[in-house]
Symmetry: C2
């Protein structure tokens, strides 16, 4: 028996759309189609492209590339060794500053205290400083945020220790928000055996105990939002001898979460809060008006790679049985997805 | 013309006395003689011996070794990968917990977030957590202290960025204190040319701009105290192909500071505050009663290695012209130094 439900459209604050510079993996058109197919009506792209978003000129190029989108979109600015001088020029056009504080994909690592202090000093308080800061590096990021009184957003929080630290920081009224990814909520290091190099990512997949504490953190209100960290690579790249970090996630996040809802791991209220209400708040948007997703909560189906919209064409969740299917998606009042088909033209997306 | 002045006896909260385990460099008797010769009536020994002070048994052995002292003394406990369980046993017998958060001398490095959190969680608030945390590692230490609401003491703060971070932390009411060493106040990386491997230390000697900002931090009240980080090694060790970190400092600190007083780089009030009043407060001692140092502020002399009490027998300040000489030292009412001679017997020192 079908059990239809209307959810507010999802907002994904953490995606890597590879455009321009690595469009063999993905581009704004294919990624935004994947987004809509997954119920995601708005997304924000990360700056660590081969030509990273580190100055106004690059941001202009990025905006041009994004015009292909079928869903709504936004951008972050990437910190490098010197570009705090450019904050004034770009601040109004981006949703936050991203700092890569650990070695990861792209050339944007910032470790030096003097440089980090310039970024924390010069970035205004009203928008977040998003950090890739794993384990002990997270303590460093929180220290800087506490001293400089800035809004820190912890990307892809993945371990129980990180969760404990964020919990303490919130108790001490340090302005910290955090996100978790679907892959850290539904996969553990045990799956590396079957997934092989497809499971290579940063932060890596963790233990079952970590996964459990993330769910605990969700239900205790410590986790602020769910973001996919959609990071597509071609299958060839992932199966090479030096596989790049990351997996796609835009199309599989909501079905996985609906399955968790079915299993009583999360309430409907919390699911909506973490995928739509809080991400919208995070971006300073009023709310997701006139955009919704119609799902059948009872529909059982199997995630299959061949049905994906993402250009990369594979999923770490291929073959997984899920309960809950997206039937229709509406963006700004217009039906954009029906029965897995994207029924809207290239360029329908607007800046968030 | 002599200009006699009575200063309260100095307290040095950061020394490495090498006893037991490396007494070819120094021991409690020779180091405490050096202390008294430098006007230091009380000192606290660091735990990173070859057999580090990481459990009650080691602390008992350490206390036994310290009975040779001619000045008063105390101890810190060293954090390792698991010994937070022992805090209850040792807490009342030590002045703080030392955590080595960077690679330095000894086997006590702690970098892992889970382990660090156990230490910050379990160490009581009433005594300091002292950290070796250089540059960006300092942000990490401050983050942990802010989240866990513990008293952080920054050892040998050495750079302008570190000073700026501590200044911000204090403004945000995070409980942080900090010390600077005489070598970072009177030597820069320029001196490495003449000193060679004798100048190998952690944190390393910095730029003239850093040195200037430390003096600025002293006069602005950001720096809480001066500690020598007295870290003797034999000349042979220092001149080897892999020279160990550290230099002796107990005997040269006060003459250097008196010279700075003469040059109006520091006020007398501030000098007393940083070398005696604040270190006593830091250790939870009432004050340095009945212990004082009589100095001749006008006496010009030259620091010479051959006159040193430290077993290592050398100084990075050898040959330096100074103004201000220690004439007599009194400990607990008794004269213990006269004209550079230690006139008190082995074992005169008591636990602080």
């Amino acid at each position: 028996m079908t059990k239809l439900l209307k959810l507010p459209g999802l907002i994904d604050v953490h995606v890597h759309l590879r455009d321009p510079g690595a469009t063999q993996k993905e581009d704004f058109y294919t990624a935004s189609r994947a987004a809509l197919a997954g119920g995601v009506v708005g997304l924000v792209d990360m700056p660590n492209n081969p030509a990273p978003t580190i100055n106004l000129k690059r941001l202009v190029v990025k905006k041009q590339a994004a015009k292909k989108s079928v869903c709504d979109y936004g951008f972050y600015f990437g910190a490098n060794q010197e570009n705090w001088k450019d904050f004034r020029k770009v601040f109004s056009q981006v949703f936050g500053l991203k700092i890569y504080m650990n070695h990861t994909t792209g050339p944007l690592l910032v470790e030096d205290l003097a440089v980090l202090q310039q970024h924390f000093k010069n970035w205004p308080q009203s928008k977040p400083i998003l950090v890739h800061a794993e384990q002990d590096t997270l303590a460093k990021a929180i220290g800087l945020a506490a001293c400089w009184d800035k809004w820190l957003h912890v990307c892809h929080l993945a371990t129980s220790e990180e969760l404990e630290l964020v919990k303490k920081a919130k108790q001490k009224k340090i302005k910290v928000t955090c996100e978790v990814t679907p892959h850290h909520l539904f996969l553990t290091k045990d799956e590396v055996k079957t997934l092989g190099s497809l499971a290579v990512m940063r932060p890596p997949l963790q233990t079952r105990a970590d996964l459990k504490s993330l769910w605990w953190g969700i239900n205790k209100g410590i986790v602020d939002l769910i973001a996919t960290d959609h990071a597509p690579h071609t299958l060839k790249e992932k199966q090479s001898s030096s596989p790049p970090n990351g997996i796609p996630g835009l199309e599989t996040s909501l079905p996985l979460l609906l399955t968790a809802l079915n299993e009583n791991k999360i309430t409907l209220k919390k699911l909506i809060e973490l995928t739509s209400i809080n991400p919208a708040k995070f971006l300073g948007l009023k709310s997701v008006k006139n955009s919704w997703v119609e799902v059948d909560l009872n529909k059982k189906w199997i995630i299959e790679q061949k049905n994906l919209q993402t250009k990369c064409g594979w999923s770490a969740f291929h073959g997984r049985k899920v309960i809950g299917k997206i039937e229709r998606v509406f963006l700004r009042g217009k039906k954009v997805v029906e029965n897995g088909k994207i029924i809207v033209k290239k360029g329908f997306g607007k800046p968030l």
